[in-house]
């Protein structure tokens, strides 16, 4: 009996994974808790400074080199075009500040709200919907200083499997790639918006 149960479990796991990987039946939705930032909402410094940018994507706190490589150019472009900094570089320079952008894909469970996530959905595994949480940490250290300005942004991507209806409070994406890029844009731009209005940041520019 136990063997039969184990076989069923193994078969179900393999079948689910194969289905997800091969059939493309999963649908992806970006949570509406965080939205696009209109350019006018970002405070442009009077004299923007050069900055060195480091981007890192993590999964449950562990560096994810593949996802970092996939999103690095997009993050660089978003920071460059935001108008918050004069010139964005990947290497350190004497006159440049330091901007660290880290996005961590975290598991969400019932205590998601206590972790600061706010959406209209039930988190974790609810029926055929799985929610991935993302914690974006944007930290800026002005040139020649050690004290940094830090802001944290939270977001989520919902995945449904099968012919389930769209979750509430979420925008459909054509693919996981598109959902990830939308989530990244929301996280980076909302983080930069908060940073650009920070009193310490304004006084340093």
């Amino acid at each position: 009996m136990a063997l039969r149960s184990l076989r069923r479990s193994v078969y179900a796991t393999v079948a689910l994974a194969s289905t997800l990987l091969l059939s493309g039946c999963a649908n992806f939705y970006v949570d509406t808790g965080l939205k696009d930032v209109p350019p006018q909402d970002i405070a442009k410094p009077a004299s923007p400074q050069d900055v060195q940018l480091i981007f890192e994507f993590r999964t449950k706190g562990v560096a994810n080199a593949g996802a970092t490589a996939l999103l690095k150019d997009q993050v660089t472009q978003l920071v460059s075009e935001s108008g918050v900094f004069a010139r964005v570089s990947g290497t350190p320079e004497q006159s440049a500040g330091f901007l660290s952008v880290v996005i961590d894909n975290v598991p969400l469970s019932d205590d998601a709200f206590s972790k600061g996530f706010v959406t209209g959905l039930t988190f974790g595994l609810a029926g055929n919907t799985v929610t991935d949480g993302y914690v974006g940490t944007i930290e800026y250290t002005p040139a020649g200083q050690k004290k940094s300005i830090k802001t944290t942004v939270r977001h989520a991507i919902h995945t449904t499997v099968g012919a389930q209806g769209a979750p509430a409070n979420a925008t459909p994406s054509a693919s996981l790639d598109e959902a990830a890029k939308t989530m990244t844009r929301h996280v980076v731009m909302n983080g930069l918006k908060t940073l650009s209005h920070d009193k310490s940041f304004i006084s340093g520019n």
Binding site: I54, V62, A63, N64, P92, F98, V101
Partner: protein, 190 residues
């Protein structure tokens, strides 16, 4: 009977998806390490040779394997990959200077990845040596490890295993950079 046929088909798909060989991705500097180095009083250093530690199997230096999949370093050896990864971290923090009198060299002492079903684990170890001219200023072994839940399905377990393995490089450097005697050793005498 039908169940076994279905299971074999599904398993074959998983194996097909996972049994492959590829190249190790370029190391990406850790935001945490770069911030730590920027805030430290470490002096810029050059980086010398890295090689496999004496007595270690040659295979440890040539590739890393996860179930039916393997990855090889574009540099030709994992010790050379470790060297380039260290340079990437130092460069990102402004602590690399190819002409600096103080140099870091090293030996790969461990590179393990066991993608078992249930719990998987990995470990990375190296001996780091800081020299200035002929004088050795620092000589220390460092080792880091990780363990994680590992899926039955190779297509899920293998990418996860590689992610954990490559993250060990950042962890190893974090351990080195956090050693106060290391930062002290990087300061040139003159």
């Amino acid at each position: 009977m039908r169940y076994i046929k279905n299971l074999l088909q599904a398993a074959a798909v998983a194996v097909l998806l996972s049994a492959c060989a590829g190249q190790m991705p370029p190391h990406s500097a850790s935001a945490g390490n770069v911030q730590q180095l920027r805030g430290s009083d470490m002096s810029p250093v050059s980086v010398g040779a890295f090689k496999l530690a004496a007595g270690k199997p040659e295979s440890m230096d040539t590739s890393i394997t996860s179930r039916a999949s393997s990855m090889t370093p574009p540099q030709g050896s994992i010790s050379a990959y470790l060297r380039d990864a260290l340079i990437a971290e130092l460069k990102a923090a402004g602590k690399f200077d190819a002409s600096a009198p103080v140099a870091i060299s090293g030996e790969l002492t461990e590179s393990e990845l066991n993608t078992n079903m249930g719990t998987a684990d990995g470990a990375l170890g190296a001996r780091f040596i800081v020299t200035e001219g002929d004088a050795a200023k620092y000589d220390q072994d460092h080792r880091v490890s990780a363990s994680w839940e590992s899926s039955f399905v190779g297509a899920i377990a293998i990418p996860k295993a590689y992610q954990e393995y490559f993250a060990l490089y950042q962890k190893l450097f974090a351990k080195l950079f956090a050693d106060p005697t290391f930062a002290k050793a990087t300061k040139p005498k003159h």
